[in-house]
């Protein structure tokens, strides 16, 4: 199986490690980590990323701003984005999806649900 590169953008090391744990169950997964939106965009530009997983509430640049920037960039506009957040309100979900997110998962996460969303988006 060809390797897949995932970019986790999350300010919490605890969440990054938990998401990494889940993604490592996909054979050939290569995982990149960033602690905020700006760092995430840098890593996105310098790597061939297959899927982005991002939090919303982060320092420097939040996840929603990141989603709109990624979607407006011709080079990355088709990269699937999963939002992983504590914000469970429907309006937050609708806002994120309207900006171009492909999936919206609320914390606390279940690794099985996360994996099934990833596999669905990447058609694995």
């Amino acid at each position: 199986m060809a390797s897949l590169t995932f970019l986790i953008i999350e300010d919490s090391p605890t969440m990054r490690q938990l998401i990494r744990f889940a993604l490592n169950r996909i054979p050939g997964a290569e995982i990149l980590e960033a602690s905020d939106g700006v760092d995430g965009l840098k890593k996105l530009s310098s790597n061939n990323v297959d899927l982005i997983l991002t939090d919303i509430n982060m320092p420097i640049m939040d996840g929603l701003k990141l989603v709109s920037l990624v979607r407006s960039n011709e080079a990355f506009k088709d990269v699937p984005i999963i939002i992983i957040t504590t914000e469970g309100a429907m309006e937050d979900r609708e806002r994120a999806m309207a900006l171009g997110a492909d999936a919206y998962i609320t914390k606390p996460i279940q690794s099985t649900a996360l994996l099934s969303t990833v596999k669905e988006l990447l058609k694995l």
């Binding site: 605890t14 938990l18 504590t86 469970g88 309100a89």
Partner: protein, 284 residues
């Protein structure tokens, strides 16, 4: 004798000869008819006999070679029916096993998820000796792994006999009050060193900070050094999952040792710095 007499005599002889021929023919016809009747009788007898044989054959079909074959087939049919019944029974067992395996797979996935959460929580708690980082990690665990929205970490002040808020999430720490030991749900839980779980949380906001959802004393061996108090869950977190109670148990011990050791380390670093400064001053 005249010619006329002679002719008449000749005619009589001719008639007699013809009569004799006719009689002979008649006798032969009689004999033939009798033969035919005999043959007819014999054939009728044979027909009757054959009918009886056929009737017997029909009445006793299991006799002879045919009945032997029929018996063999019946035995084989019986064996196949037994085998079919066994296969059906085995199929039912395999289907039941499949359902069992599917359920076990779900259970294993859940256990795997739970173990990952516990591992990550434990790993992160002991990943640093910086006191503020440890507090931040505890907050992250409660937000991200348990789904807490409003909660606080209290530490015990032995001299003042109070629980003092050390970190909080979802509320300004200045709004979280000190709690005298033994007072209210939180004070009593810490004094008794017993975890408190509220099955009927109040919806009255005025009672939010006095009637928490959960209070977990932080203990090192039998000493309670503080408590984690959870006032409200995230809106999408409807109820606690079994792994949440495992996480509370883990936090009760591991968060306590992480807080205690990081405080000791910070204090020893501060003291070391003080002693170093003092030594530097003496050596000048």
């Amino acid at each position: 004798m005249s010619i006329q007499d002679t002719e008449e005599k000749g005619k009589k002889t001719e008639h007699l000869e013809r009569g004799e021929e006719f009689l002979e023919m008649f006798r032969k016809g009689q004999e033939f008819t009798q033969d035919l009747l005999k043959e007819n009788e014999r054939l009728r007898f044979q027909v009757v006999h054959l009918e009886e044989v056929v009737k017997k054959e029909l009445e006793a079909p299991d006799s002879g070679q045919q009945s032997s074959m029929s018996k063999d087939l019946s035995e084989k049919l019986g064996q196949y029916e037994v085998r079919l019944s066994e296969l059906k029974s085995r199929l039912s067992e395999v289907e039941a096993e499949n359902v069992d395996f599917a359920q076990r797979y779900i259970d294993v996935e859940e256990q795997n998820n739970n173990l990952a959460n516990l591992y990550v929580a434990s790993f992160q708690l002991h990943s640093t000796l910086d006191y503020q980082e440890v507090l931040q990690i505890i907050l992250e665990i409660i937000i991200n792994l348990i789904g807490g929205e409003i909660f606080a970490i209290y530490l015990r002040d032995e001299k003042a006999k109070t629980l003092n808020p050390e970190a909080a999430e979802g509320v300004a720490i200045s709004d979280v009050l000190r709690i005298p030991l033994g007072e209210g749900v939180i004070g009593q839980a810490v004094l008794a060193n017993e975890s408190y779980f509220n099955d009927n949380p109040s919806e009255d906001l005025a009672e939010l900070y006095t009637n928490p959802l959960v209070c977990i004393p932080l203990t090192i061996q039998d000493d309670v050094i503080g408590a984690i108090v959870l006032f409200q869950l995230l809106q999408q977190k409807v109820t606690f999952a079994p792994v949440d109670f495992e996480l509370f148990t883990l936090l009760a011990g591991h968060a306590a040792t992480a807080i205690f050791s990081s405080r000791l380390f910070t204090e020893s670093k501060r003291k070391l710095s003080t002693y170093q400064g003092f030594l530097d001053l003496l050596s000048k």
